[in-house]
């Protein structure tokens, strides 16, 4: 087991390193220079001004030494400063993190509470019209782009109830009611995709377990069908469902760019989008590595759970 954990960590480390280099290189390669973007307002820019700004931002050094500086910073827990706002990247992430965490938490709760029961029903009523209907609905959940669902929901709310959720973001502790009004809708949109994969996973693994020998034994003992389903089948099939949930939550933490932009929520996805658009190099790269760690931990936790079982 120790060897297994060690190997996973090593692989994770290698992947992380490839990614860090990749993002660093890509960000520098994107056409459009942060210096030019920042000076765009000023009408006549002298060469000296450009040089001064470059030195100030540390962009006059060679790419390699910039990379080494930044890498050194990471090991000391310092992700560098944003090239625009002069705030530290750690601080910016900390400001956006609560929104993304809340969104992820809400949408996974919604998805689990809807997805697992539907999956079980679909498996129990295998090959009946209920199953076919639920199957089409769940594939629909994967197929229909969630940003369109978000738009249509907003449209319905504004047309039917003449109400749209207050824009922006207020934290739950500051104003729980407004917070819920803002978060429930985007969380629901995100939940639909997650829910669809939970349904499919639950259905296929419950079906598989229902055909296992021990279930036949349990049935032949005369145990009630509901206990067979919920106690024996569902419990044993939860492992693969939890794996899927873990992986998907990793993705959700990575930010839901489109949904956040529709509901104008200041989450991580939004920050990444802004960072890419404004060529804010340190901001982008640190963040991606940070998120990668996140996804990695989720994945790892799932694998660990699998091993435990």
């Amino acid at each position: 087991m120790v060897e297994y954990i060690f190997r996973r960590l090593l692989y994770g480390g290698i992947v992380l390193f490839i990614m860090v280099i990749f993002i660093f290189v890509v960000m520098r390669a994107i056409p459009g220079d942060v210096v030019m973007l920042q000076l765009a307002d000023a009408s006549n820019v002298s060469e000296a001004q450009i040089a001064a700004l470059k030195t100030e931002l540390g962009l006059d050094k060679s790419i390699v030494s910039q990379f080494m500086d930044w890498l050194k910073g990471i090991f000391q827990g310092d992700f560098g400063k944003s090239l625009w706002s002069n705030r530290s990247v750690t601080e910016m992430i900390a400001a956006r993190l609560p929104v993304t965490l809340e969104l992820t938490f809400l949408s996974s709760i919604i998805a689990i509470f809807i997805g697992i029961p539907i999956g079980v029903i679909s498996a129990v009523k295998h090959n009946t019209w209920t199953d076919h209907l639920l199957r089409i609905v769940s594939i629909g959940g994967i197929s229909i782009p969630n940003f369109w669902i978000g738009l249509v929901l907003l449209l319905l709310l504004s047309l039917v109830f003449n109400w749209i959720p207050p824009l922006g973001y207020q934290s739950f502790t500051a104003n729980p009611i407004v917070n819920m009004q803002q978060m429930l809708l985007p969380a629901f949109c995100l939940a639909i995709t997650l829910c669809a994969s939970i349904v499919r996973m639950t259905r296929s693994s419950v079906l598989e377990i229902m055909h296992a020998d021990f279930i036949r034994t349990v049935r032949s003992k005369g145990v009630k069908e509901s206990i067979v389903v919920y106690k024996h089948s569902l419990r044993n099939s939860l492992i693969s469902v939890i794996t899927i949930i873990g992986l998907q939550i990793g993705t959700l933490l990575g930010g839901a760019v489109v949904i956040e932009s529709i509901f104008s929520l200041p989450g991580l996805g939004n920050l990444i989008f802004e960072a890419v658009n404004s060529r804010d190099y340190p901001n982008c790269s640190s963040f991606r590595s940070y998120l990668r760690c996140n996804v990695f931990t989720c994945e790892f936790a799932c694998r660990y759970y699998l091993w435990l079982d």
């Binding site: 890509v26 197929s143 782009p145 940003f147 738009l151 249509v152 990444i272």
Partner: protein, 299 residues
């Protein structure tokens, strides 16, 4: 000598017939057992036909603006209404099918080719090559797909071919993974070992024995990936870094529509419906194909 030649030619003909018959039989079986899958094939074919014959079907030019008819609701002249520049929504949706299908098909085809080659090589040779390829695939998979596409698309600038490149990169790993898994399985089979024993070169083994045995999972993943690629294109265009305006892309139309949501709801509804219908048909087809070939295939 000559008679031998003729006989083998006849055999070849018979063999071809047998293959065709088996294929037809499989088709019939598919239509009977997978009705949903059959209906989705029909929907996809209709969509492709619409994309090909767009100039015939569309009543208006998708780009030409009409100042007289700005934001008019659905009526006899414009069955799906017009947008903020007076362009006919129906014509734009019809032409939009071209972009969606082109991007989806182009990127999935490229991703299949590259992913399959990587997967075959990785699975057949193993060792350090496998290790390197798999770590790179892990790295790509580690970044949420849409965000990676966002990086690449903004790196290359807004253009249809750049969207295709971005989607190819995010969809390569799924093909590489599935092909590698299948290759590991096929490699251990007796007939592959036999052909290795008689000295067939690796290239021949990969093409003749490897590929035909993994067509089914590749087609299933391709069908599901096609849908995902179309959604990715729409999302990128929605964020303004995909297909550049004034091209009629469904994602772009939706992004434009969100500004006029309350005054012109038809702008939100129709492009979204077209998008949802096409992707739904592709996913249902993928699902049906999976059931048809191997219900236990876990993808």
């Amino acid at each position: 000598m000559q008679s031998v030649q003729i006989e083998t030619e006849q055999q070849v003909v018979v063999k071809k017939h047998a293959r065709l018959l088996k294929f037809l039989h499989d088709c019939k079986h598919f239509i009977i057992t997978q009705k949903i899958g059959f209906v989705s094939i029909l929907i996809i074919l209709v969509m492709i036909a619409i994309a090909i014959f767009a100039p015939v079907i569309a009543p208006y030019d998708p780009i030409s603006q009409n100042r007289e008819a700005i934001l008019t609701g659905p009526n006899a002249e414009h069955i799906m209404g017009t947008d903020d520049l007076g362009r006919d929504v129906f014509s734009r949706i019809v032409y939009g099918a071209r972009i969606s299908i082109l991007v989806g098909f182009g990127s999935i085809l490229l991703a299949i080719v590259i992913g399959t080659i990587l997967g075959l090589v990785s699975g057949y040779f193993g060792g350090i090559i496998d290790m390197v390829i798999q770590r790179i695939m892990d790295a790509i998979l580690a970044i949420p797909a849409l965000i990676l596409a966002l990086f690449i698309a903004s790196l290359l600038g807004p253009a249809v071919q750049n969207v295709i490149i971005a989607i190819v990169i995010i969809s390569i790993p799924q093909f590489a993974r599935i092909v590698r898994g299948e290759m590991l399985r096929v490699r251990e089979m007796n007939f592959v070992e036999a052909s290795r024993a008689i000295g067939a070169n690796p290239f021949r083994i990969l093409l003749k024995h490897g590929l035909p045995n993994m067509l089914a999972p590749i087609i299933v993943v391709a069908s599901l990936g096609f849908g995902a690629a179309i959604i990715a294109e729409a999302s990128l265009s929605f964020l303004g870094i995909g297909t550049p305006p004034p091209n009629p892309s469904w994602g772009l139309m939706l992004s434009n529509a969100s500004r006029y949501m309350e005054t012109a709801p038809w702008l939100v509804i129709f492009p979204g419906l077209a998008l949802a219908l096409l992707v739904l048909a592709l996913n249902l087809l993928g699902d049906a194909l999976r059931d048809f070939w191997d219900p236990k295939l876990s993808l």
